[in-house]
Symmetry: C2
Subunit: 255 residues, 2 copies
DNA sequence: GGTTTTGTTGCGCACTGTGCAACGCCCATT
DNA sequence: AATGGGCGTTGCACAGTGCGCAACAAAACC
């Protein structure tokens, strides 16, 4: 809508790929050098980009601060986190938390068993939306027309032989997930990785987030993974309860 | 420099404080509603803001993805991380990693002893630049004119009785730090918290980052904390070595 | 020392962003 | 059910702002 802002914002993902100099930025945006310079300077003033010694630009640290605050505003995340940690301690596997936003599903939290602090690993990256258990849960809850619209707009990459092949199959799967209240991904993204997922619901019953347990085939088979389902569902329900206010968090201080 | 982009970017920290509706945004920017709407739409198209059900805007998840990639580009961080974890395992205290950028010092990594996964806690937030050990290390290495310029531009809040009072005292402290190659903060930010810090240096000897150990007074006194200094310095030197290529990381794959 | 490459500045033109006013929608209130 | 107020949205005319050009400056290269 706004040309100038649009161009400026297109610089960010471009720099996310790696540092770039003025000319490269101008070329990628298909604008004159002086235009790119003006945009970069404005971004720089706001700390969104940083200029290193070799004069090349890269993403600035202000993005850190903003992302952090964005995360703090996602109160589902804050509420869910201790529950995810507890779940991880009991089952030992990787635990994810994801939300839906504007046609995308994103991981917003992750607890890994072996490297509990390897934090940024995948948080923020879009999920393989056509196969991931959490994606199925989140999409299954959308109102019918939107669900259909999203399903038909998607690509269906054949990550493995078990990946969801097309929109029809996906919608059918979503119907199943909607009915049973949980979801799986058995080797649909990577051959040897299996997942089970359960929904986190808000006061009105709508799915606001989804969490999942992931584990490689060689560690636990699909059968064993399904045995964890009750534990997972209890965790998801505990988060839902706290998020809905059934188990109220410490009350705000009054003066 | 560019009015439109400037206004658009000013929306982000504003929304970081919490969700806001169109009118509030327009009022805070001091522009007409229609102008704010256009800016917000452009930000929305790029996933920088998200519109929740009640039509209020909040920061979007794209910021997550960008911040993640920004972090990945900070290769100091990636290299340092396992070393910081190892240090934390040996001493048990909180370990920080910070960098300098454009007059600010920011934490870019943190390992906490008791809650190792409480990740976003302070990462990305600017450091108390006049007192923190890591800030002293990073500023002490700036070329003299810039160091002086920064020192004189700063405010010197009296967090505690031991906080750095003014630019003169700060510059003197920086000279000491520069000489001895390590830094401390004994109760300068919070009365009961002490820190020691050591620099991470690049190939050319310049300080590219700084790491520190922080612990409350009640757990370890300043004397005990200083006993950890050799361990800390060894860690910082190990990171420096790996960063400088003395201990080369796994070589890139060739075809 | 000359040449190429890359960043920076000033400037005139016109395109793009701006604010205004009118419209439409939803919710609250009676 | 009708009325009113609050808020988001749209279209438009004006001019302010961002645009690309071209010349300049400064490294980097040979």
């Amino acid at each position: 809508m706004s040309q100038t802002v649009d161009r400026a914002l297109r610089i960010l993902p471009l720099l996310a790929e790696g540092p770039a100099n003025l000319e490269q930025v101008a070329a990628r945006l298909d604008v004159h050098k002086s235009t790119a310079l003006r945009l970069l300077r404005t971004l720089h003033e706001h700390g969104m980009v940083y200029r290193q010694q070799d004069q090349r630009y890269r993403l600035g640290t202000r993005l850190f601060a903003l992302a952090q605050q964005a995360a703090e505003n996602l109160d589902v995340r804050e509420i869910a986190h201790p529950h995810l940690v507890a779940l991880n301690e009991r089952c030992g596997h990787t635990v994810h938390l994801a939300v839906y936003e504007d046609g995308e599903v994103l991981y917003i939290d992750k607890v890994e068993s072996r490297y509990p602090v390897r934090m940024y690993s995948r948080i923020g990256k879009p999920v393989a939306i056509t196969v991931a258990a959490v994606a199925k849960l989140l999409l299954a809850d959308l109102p019918e027309p939107e669900r259909r619209a999203v399903a038909e707009r998607l690509d269906y990459p054949a990550y493995t032989a078990r990946s969801t092949p097309d929109a029809a199959a996906f919608l059918k799967e979503l119907a199943t997930v909607r009915e049973q209240g949980w979801a799986t991904d058995f080797g649909g993204h990577e051959e040897s990785i299996n997942c089970v997922g359960a929904p986190v619901r808000g006061t009105d019953g709508r799915v606001v987030a989804a969490c999942s347990i992931s584990a490689p085939n060689v560690v636990v088979g699909t059968g064993e993974l399904l045995e964890l389902l009750p534990l997972l569902r209890r965790t998801a329900e505990a988060v839902s309860a706290e998020y809905s206010g059934t188990t109220p968090p410490p009350p705000p201080v009054r003066k």
